[in-house]
């Protein structure tokens, strides 16, 4: 396998983009990445998108987006794994370069959610439509079921759940690309209206428009062109049952644990090696359990771990320095790529006020549905 590096990255601001279409958002992010990479040539393109069909009524977006980006005749693949579509697109681009099949691959993610009048139902399509959504289980409801089970078993508290949002908003306030650039207090999170008990509005990631893109090339090419070189050293993917109720343990996210283990193994790293991590905090409880599954804290202890500040910038393992999906925003198909861009910025020392000191090894964890799919990448500063 060839070593794979990142040579360029770009993203739109994450927010409600009333004046931009799906294709506008994609092209803006992709052009930024191409300009950053200083290479106009693209051999092939992947785009992660959960549901252009339900959100904007458009399918076949691979060629559509290549066409609007001016990439005539390139091979293009649209990748779907619900909210993990972005990271899975990156994984496929990584494989294409590692295999030697292509040299310059654009990997991207996009979602235009605000054109849709029932995004709750569109998102529910990432669950088991016939056995969960059909009965009225929304995504917040499914994660609330997980949260209740975690509280029952481990004594996790409402305050510990809310602390995830407080921390992520604190980081988001320092991110000019974030949808919500303001801090919130624990009381504000707890007193925001209840969406699905125990999850309040400020513990649920928002409806967001946005796109993100990265250019991947063989590592040698990055070394010739960039001062600060970042390579992808680990890539892990795993799946699990589509319905939450089919899992033996509702408080675990097995796909996350396995994707993490596979990425650690490929990179030859362990949890203690990671300096900074972006995780899939679609709901507050998700971040808590993911931090456990990735091995940063023992099972059941994540509530106290985050309450004690271990995941803040400057803490033992800074998590979601970008603001996470909660504050940065969650254009579902774009989130997995945006997470990797945040880690890339941290590793090249370009994360401004959010910079983690001496960050040399980073991780990004993306997740689909209630954890029926998960993708984990490890990135490192190359010598």
């Amino acid at each position: 396998m060839r070593e794979v590096g990142i040579i360029g990255a770009g993203l739109t601001r994450f927010k409600e983009h009333w004046d931009s279409s799906l294709r506008d958002l994609f092209v803006e992010a992709a052009l930024k990445a191409i300009d950053d990479a200083e290479t106009p040539e693209i051999d092939s393109m992947y785009v992660g998108c959960m549901s252009s069909g339900l959100f904007v009524g458009q399918e076949h977006i691979g060629p559509l987006l290549a066409d609007y980006l001016g990439l005539k005749n390139v091979p293009t693949v649209r990748v779907e794994s619900a909210c993990a579509s972005g990271a899975l697109a990156l994984r496929l681009g990584f494989m294409e370069i590692a295999s030697g099949m292509s040299d310059i691959v654009l990997v991207s993610g996009v979602e235009k959610m605000t054109d849709c009048d029932d995004p709750t139902s569109a998102l529910a399509a990432a669950a088991d439509i016939e056995n969960e959504a059909f009965f009225g289980a929304t995504f917040p409801a499914l994660y609330a079921l997980i949260a209740r089970a975690h509280m029952d078993r481990y004594g996790t508290t409402r305050e510990q759940l809310a602390a995830v949002s407080v921390k992520n908003h604190k980081n988001g306030a320092k991110n000019p690309d974030a949808q919500f650039q303001r801090e919130v207090s624990l009381e504000t999170v707890l007193n925001s209206f209840m969406v699905a008990d125990p999850l309040t509005l400020l513990q649920c990631s928002p409806i967001t428009d946005g796109a993100a893109a990265i250019i991947l090339v063989p590592l040698d090419m990055v070394k010739k062109m960039k001062d600060r070189v970042v390579k992808i050293t680990g890539s892990g993917v795993a799946s699990d049952t589509i319905a939450l109720h089919s899992r033996k343990d509702i408080t675990s996210l097995e796909a996350v644990r396995l994707a993490g283990e596979r990425a650690y193994k490929m990179a030859g790293r362990k949890p203690e090696d990671i300096d900074v991590c972006e995780v899939h905090d679609c709901f507050s409880i998700a971040e808590l359990i993911v931090v456990e599954e990735l091995g940063f804290v023992e099972k059941g202890n994540s509530g106290r771990f985050i309450e004690e500040g271990n995941t803040e910038i400057g803490g033992r393992i800074p998590v979601n320095t970008s603001g996470g999906l909660k504050a940065k925003g969650h254009p579902v198909g774009a989130s997995g790529i945006a997470q990797v861009i945040e880690i890339y910025k941290q590793l090249i020392g370009n994360a401004e006020e959010r910079q983690v000191k001496n960050a040399r090894i980073g991780m990004a964890q993306n997740m689909g549905g209630t954890g029926a799919s998960s993708v984990v990448h490890i990135m490192e500063v190359a010598e």
Binding site: A124, F134, G136, T138, L145, R148
Partner: protein, 129 residues
Amino acid sequence: MSTQKIWRERIGRYRLIGQKCKGCGKVLFPKRLICPECGGRDFDEEQMPDVGKIVTYTTVYVGPKFLELDTPYIIAVIEFNNGVRVTTQVVDVDPKEVSTGKEVKLVYRKLQAEGKTGVIAYGYKAQLV
């Protein structure tokens, strides 16, 4: 939900009929073609019990469009004594009375009002025993 789909899934949803794996004895609901436990492909039909226990639950305040008028409503994971779990609503109850471990009985109810095709879908919901 289309008419065709409602019709196809009627046996499971209306009568709670699942299956038992002839290879390992695992009970599955709804029916599948392959046992996820042992890979077996031979099954006997199996009637699900109509009583179970609440494994976890939530009160939903923001629902999808088809349930907009029903909020707040309760969603729970219910476990039967044969190990099968389902997700459905707990109805006819004050949310304060619902808690983990409580016994419920499944009842036949309207699930979704008229969809695009105008057909009403029925199925199971749960009541506290």
